[in-house]
Every structure is written in C-alpha cells, then in structure tokens.
C-alpha cells in the first residue's frame, strides 16, 4: 500500500533508520497512516516498535529517513513539536509524576494557561464520557497501573491530537475496561482521528485495527489487513515461526498434597488514605498447583503481594505460612530463605535496579539464598560465579540484549521480565508468587514465561499468580480466586470457572449471589 493512490495520508514515514552503537534498532522503516484509521504496529519485544514510536514522538532523532505530516516533510525534534503537530502519545512505561495529583499531571501536558481547577473538571467530565473513571485529586503515587493508564489516555485525549499513539494500552485493563477503550477508539476514528495501536494481543488487533504493519528485528516484514488474517498467521509474521501454545498437563493428586503456602486470616489496614485494606484473606496453595488471582486493578492485589512477599510484615506471624512454618514476621530475605521466591509487578525500580547490570541485579535478590555460591570469605563477591549464573538465566529464558551484561534499564520490558522471572526460577523455589507475570510482554515471551511457571508447579512447587490478564489465568491456573475491594473469593477450580463467573466476581458479586447483583444493577 503506497501513498501514491491514497491522498489522505496523515503520516508517511520513509526509510526511517535509527542506530544505537552496533545495533540497528530501526532499519529503513516505511509506514503510512491514513486519516481516520486504526493502524496496528505489531512486533516482538526488541523488534523496534518503541524506537520507531519514540522517533515519531520526537524523543529520539532518526539517523536517516523522512517523515511527512499531511504531505509535508517535517523534522520532529522534540516531544513539544510532536504535540504541536498534533501527535499524542500514551506511553507503555508511564511518563507520570508520582508526587503530583492526576489533575496536575494532566495540566502539565496542556499548553493553554487554564487553571488546574478547570482542568480537573474537564478531566472528570471526559473520563466519565469515555467510561474511564478517574479522581483528579488523587495522588498518582497511590494509584494502580490500570488507573495510571487512564490518566495517560485522558491526558492524551485532552490535547485533541490528530494522531494518537497507544503503546500496549489494554495490557492492564479488564475485559470490560478494554471494551470501553475500544468504543473510545472507534469514536475517535469516526471523528476522523488516526490511531497507531501497538499491541501484542492479536485478537484485539483483529477486532479494531484497519491495517497492520509488522516489524521483526527492526525491519518491516509486511503490511496486512488484520481482519483477513488469523491470530496465528499474525503471530507467525511477528515471530518468524510458530508460537508454541502453552501446554498445561493435568495436575494429579493435588487434593492430597501438602499446602506449601498458607494465608490465614490475613488482614491489613490501609497504608495510605487511598489504598485498599485487606480483609480476612484465606488461601492455600498446594505443591504442584498454580492458583491464579484475578481482579480489577487497584482492588488490593498490590497490598496482598506486599504482605505475602514480606515487603510489609504481619502482626500475626501465623497469617502467612511457608512450607508449614510461620513466616508473617519475617522479611523478604527470611521468606526467601524458607524457599519462597517473589516477582513484583513493577519491573524497573522494584523487580530490578534500573541502572545496575543484570548480574548485579541477580546478586541483589540472591546474595542471601545462594550466599555460598555468590559470596566468598569476608563478603567478597564472586563476580565470575554471578556473571556465569546471569548468563545461564539469559540463555534459559532467551533474554535478548545488546551487550553481554547490560544495565537492566537497557532491556526492553518483556526481555527484562523474562530475566526477572528466570532469576527466581533458577533457584527452583518451593513457593513462587508472581504479580502480573507478563504485563506488556509479547506473545512469544509470554508463552515462555507461562510455560515455565506451569513446569515449576508440576515439578512440585506451589505457584501463586496475580494477574489482570484473564486469558493468561485461564491458560495456566488450576484454580482461580478473585480479589475485590480487599477481599478474596474462594478459588474456583478451572473446570468450573468461566469468564462470566469470574467477571461477576471481579465486579463484586458474592459467589452464589450473582443473580442478586444482576437484579440491583
């Protein structure tokens, strides 16, 4: 599809190239976006999607190539210039200010001098009309990832851009929230706006996108109409070969296996005025099984993970038990020494120190549990052993990177996630607790991580997965529990679980009271 027979191109990109050192992140990319279309940009992690988008948004400068906006050649030298042209962007790694309120965050990206109070009102009205509930006065630092994304989207919409770039927008939304977003996008399209939609969820690309451009290793490998493709043909274009489907062998003898992770009457007061209290949570995770916890963002999953991992200690030591022993009063290291492993939601800054090398990040989380291997006499670090272990994980998890031992921040999101999950799996923990294992991770990498979690369980470990991705939970869990407003439902065996049942629980219905909720709704 070239520009010659289509005069209504809003954006044309010709031969755009970006080179970092020896790595050609984008290699002569051609891309046309017509007015009023939703254009998908598909590609695995490290395929060059983010680099391309950053060049379009002016935060990176291309080495060569041309960009045409409404038929005129432009040089987009700064994000400010991109905004002036009419390009808006919703980032994957959110560019929000945690110490400011939602309204202040929105105000910062608007150029007019309107007072913050009126922006708050505008944001509230806009969020209401697009079905993205938002409290403008809440502090971003207190919000969940899903809520932060709403701010990003609303912030972008308030600028009334001509082209909206969305980077993995639905990865943190519930199916219902995603539907709302699609309605929003379709409405924007009908208003004549163009959307560049980056996603790894092929079903939704098929559902809403008019055209797709597929990138692999920095090059365009094809343009297509996603509606005429199947999810697996799209995946094949993206990955270059078939994506292996996740295989879940039936769990046997789980009912009689010993619970390795027990949560007993776990309660927690809200840490800040905006956070969710945990109310009397009970859960057993037995050897050999994967339990999934579903729920809408910001219903206490983060607080629950902090309590289980030991980031926050419990008053009652018996409220968290690992391998039959009380662990509630122990720190993260104490719990790790009992055989547990934890993968938090945020990769950068929580799961890994961004400016430290992968090997150093490995040492940070395992110096205590693998002390003998990694630390020698007098506390000296055995660098060679740490480096070797990091390389082992990199190979095992197929982590793609540009240097032998790069800084964590230099990896793309999915590759860093593979490393962080691999770092914990490498220990063969008896209990593994993961929060959002594949958030923002492409299909190939996600399948890899999911398969690894199932295999860990089948080898006799207890695995607890907190996720907002229902497809993922249905793919890997033996039972699914739902967290709503700080309370956890009873786990539903996967054979009995349906999207509808889980969806109702996510909306706050008591098990068995679903009809009641439907009546009052």
């Amino acid at each position: 599809m070239s520009a010659d027979h289509d005069g209504a191109n809003l954006l044309e990109v010709r031969g755009l190239t970006k080179i970092f050192g020896t790595l050609t992140a984008c290699d002569h990319i051609d891309l046309n976006i017509a007015k009023g279309e939703i254009h998908a940009l598909l590609g695995e992690n490290g395929a060059g999607k983010s680099t391309l988008v950053k060049m379009l948004f002016g935060s990176l400068e291309p080495n060569s190539g041309e960009i045409f906006w409404n038929g005129e050649a432009v040089r987009i030298t700064s994000p400010g210039m991109a905004k002036k042209l009419g390009i808006g962007m919703v980032f994957q790694h959110f560019s929000l200010f945690e110490a400011l309120t939602a309204a202040e965050n929105i105000a910062l990206s608007l150029d007019d001098g309107s007072p913050i109070s009126s922006i708050a009102a505008k944001a509230r009205a806009l969020s209401f009309s697009y079905g993205l509930p938002l409290d403008p006065d809440s502090l971003v630092g207190d919000l969940s990832v899903g809520e932060r994304q709403r701010i990003e989207i609303i912030r972008c919409l308030l600028q009334t851009p001509q082209l909206i770039i969305l980077d993995e927008p639905t990865s943190v939304l519930t199916p219902q929230e995603a539907d709302k977003l699609f309605e929003t996008l379709e409405r924007l399209r009908s208003e004549g706006k163009s959307i560049l939609y980056i996603s790894h969820r092929l079903e939704e690309v098929k559902r809403i996108c008019d055209r797709a451009t597929v990138l692999r290793h920095g090059k365009v490998v094809g343009h297509c109409n996603p509606r005429e493709e199947t999810a697996s043909s799209l995946a094949r274009m993206m990955v270059g070969n078939e994506v292996k489907a996740v295989v879940r062998a039936p769990a046997e003898g789980i009912e009689t296996a010993a619970p390795l992770l027990e949560i007993r009457a776990l309660s927690r007061k809200p840490a800040t005025p905006f956070s969710i209290p945990l109310k009397n949570i009970n859960l057993n995770v037995r050897a050999g099984e994967v339990i999934g916890i579903a729920g809408v963002a910001g219903n206490g999953q983060g607080e629950f993970f902090e309590s289980v991992s030991g980031e926050v200690l419990q008053q009652d030591a018996a409220s968290v038990r690992i391998r039959g022993k009380d662990a509630g009063a122990l720190s993260i290291t104490g719990r790790r020494l009992m055989g547990a492993a934890f993968v938090p939601e945020e990769r950068l800054g929580h799961g890994a120190a961004p400016r430290m090398k992968l090997s150093e990040n490995l040492l940070l989380s395992r110096h205590a549990t693998d002390g003998k291997v990694f630390v020698g006499t007098g506390g000296a670090v055995k660098s060679a052993a740490v480096y070797a272990a990091a390389q082992r994980i990199i190979v095992a998890m197929d982590v793609r990177k540009s240097a032998p031992d790069p800084e964590a921040a230099a990896l793309s999101g999915g590759n860093l996630q593979k490393f962080i999950v691999g770092r914990e799996l490498d220990r063969s923990p008896a209990v593994m607790v993961v929060n959002q294992p594949t958030w923002g991770v492409d299909a190939g990498a996600a399948a890899h991580i999911r398969q690894a979690l199932i295999e860990l369980a089948r080898s006799g470990s207890a695995v607890l997965v907190i996720s907002q991705d229902l497809d993922e939970l249905f793919e890997i869990s033996d039972a699914i529990a739902v967290m709503h407003n700080g309370e956890l439902s009873k786990p539903l065996p996967i054979a009995d679980a349906t999207f509808e049942k889980i969806g109702l629980l996510m909306g706050g219905a008591e098990p068995g009271h679903a009809e009641h909720v439907l009546e009052t709704a």
Partner: protein, 306 residues
C-alpha cells in the same frame, strides 16, 4: 520591654540570611538539582556586596552587587552540572571551596575597613508606635525582602503553572522531557535564582549583620540553610519556621552564656542545631506528605538521549 524588642530584632537579623539562602536552595532542589555550593555563593555575595558598597559608598549598589555575584557564581555550577552533566555533589562542594578561597583573596584589601550599612526602614508615625512599630516597620530592607520572597516562592511553586512544571521536573526529569518540557532551561534558571538568593543572603551579612569584611564570615550558614531545606521537607513555610527557630535559640543561648548559666558553653552552642532538627523532624512525621514533597530526581544528572 525594650530588651524584648531588641532580642526579637536580633533574632530576625540572625534568621534572615538563613531564610533567604534556604528559600533559594529550595527552589533549586525542587527542580531536582542539589547545589552544595550555597556556602561558597553566600561568601562571594558577602565579599561582592561589601566591596561594591565600600568602593561606591552606596550600600544599595552593594546589595545589587551581592545578588549579581551569587548569580554569576552559580552559573559556573550550572554550566558544569547541567550542560556538562558533572556530578552535582562534587561540583557543589568544589564551588564552596572555591568561593571561600576566592572571596578571601578578593577581600584582602577590605579587611579592617569600615563598611556601608543598609539603613533600617523608617516610616514616620508607624515606626514610632511602641513595641510593634520597630518590629514591623523599622527593620532592614532585606528582612522585608526575605518575607516577601518566602510568600512569593510559596505562591509560585504551588499556585502557578510554571511552579507546577518546576516541581514536575524535580519529580521525574525523564517524564518531563517526554512531555516536551525544557528540563535544562528550567534548571538553569532555578540554579541562578538560588545563586542570587545565596548572594543576597551573603550581602545581608556584610551590609546589615556586621557591616565589615571578615574572611569566612558566612561561618557555616550556607550549610545550615542546606540542612534547613531537607529538614523542612522542601516546603517554604517550614523553612521559614526552621530559620526562625534556629535564630531564636541561637540568640537565646548567646544571652544564656552571657548570664553565666552553669551549663558548658559547647552544649549551649549546639542547642540551635538540636532544637531545629527536633522541631522539623516532629513536623515532618507525615510520611505521605514527605514523599509528596521530596524531589525524586534530586541530584541525578539529566542527559536526554537523542
């Protein structure tokens, strides 16, 4: 009654340079830059202010010279840390060392010379009101500047758009850059503002407090101002409170020493520091507010990737 008024006036005089230097540094740190060179900029302001006043005979020209001296000196720091992305802590420390040395050299011919003093405000009738007249209408001009400056900075940071932008840069310079905010430009202006304030504070020392030039006459006040900013959790009115608590206890212990109270003088001399720390720690107990007000990108060099 007169003694009380005099004590209150000396407290204000002791607190004013701390307040001005700290308010300037607060703006700098809110933009995410840690300038440890306050002491150096202050002493440069003091020598510049004294010198210009002495040579021209006008303390007002001295005042302007003090401000300009601090601002120009801070520009050195700005170029190093912002354009060349050097380490802020090391650069700030060397700025202090350079300032102390350079001011000593520049001031050799001023030692022992009588200086010009900025006149106190005098408004007929108003200043003559007993007690409050002198406190409210009879102080030196820099005192009024310091109070106005605190109020202005408070309004600027929390009520204006530019202030919001400045705070956002301090919170995350990468996010700010992604939004198209000119991070480096904002930081340059902040650093220069901080320098001008430190220079003004130095000018207060050599044009009001003790109108003469003595080497090292800033005597660690720049460091106290830096500490005040942190203990006040980057909030202007707390800096004001901190500066005045420090000034009050400082003057109080001087009087106590003069009365010959049987407490070791070293202990009394340490009281202002102790009292300020205790009070500011107590009012900063709210972790949430502290988190909200701490500039998260403080001290990190910013190099936009292109």
């Amino acid at each position: 009654m007169d003694i009380t008024v005099n004590i209150l006036l000396t407290i204000a005089t002791a607190a004013t340079p701390l307040l001005i230097a700290a308010i300037g540094e607060l703006v700098v740190e809110r933009s995410g830059v840690l300038n440890l060179g306050v002491e150096g900029m202050m002493i440069m302001g003091a020598v510049g202010g004294f010198g210009a006043g002495y040579l021209t005979g006008s303390p007002w020209i001295g005042l302007l010279a003090a401000i300009a001296m601090g601002a120009v000196f801070s520009l050195l720091f700005a170029v190093m840390t912002l354009s060349l992305a050097t380490n802020q802590v090391a650069t700030g420390l060397s700025l202090t060392l350079l300032g102390l040395g350079l001011s000593g050299m520049m001031g050799t011919s001023f030692v022992g010379q009588p200086g010009e003093r900025l006149p106190n405000l005098y408004i007929p009738v108003l200043t003559d009101i007993p007690v409050v007249g002198r406190l409210l209408f009879g102080q030196d001009p820099i005192f009024y500047i310091s109070i106005a400056l605190t109020a202005a900075v408070m309004w600027f940071l929390f009520k204006t758009r530019t202030g919001l932008t400045l705070r956002s840069i301090g919170d995350s310079h990468t996010s700010a850059h992604a939004l198209g905010i000119k991070v480096i430009r904002y930081r340059y202006l902040s650093v220069i503002f901080g320098g001008a304030c430190a220079g003004l504070a130095g000018g207060h020392l050599s044009l009001v407090y003790t109108p003469q030039w003595v080497e090292n006459m800033s005597a660690g006040r720049g460091w106290i101002a830096l500490a005040l900013v942190v203990f006040a959790s980057w909030r202007p009115w707390r800096v004001l409170a901190g500066a005045y608590i420090f000034g009050a206890v400082w003057i109080g212990q001087l009087h106590a020493q003069a009365f010959g109270i049987p407490v070791p003088s070293q202990l009394l001399s340490s009281l202002p520091y102790l009292a300020t720390v205790v009070v500011l720690v107590l009012i900063s107990r709210n972790k949430r507010l502290t988190m909200m007000n701490t500039p998260a990108s403080l001290g990190q060099p910013f190099v936009p990737d292109r």
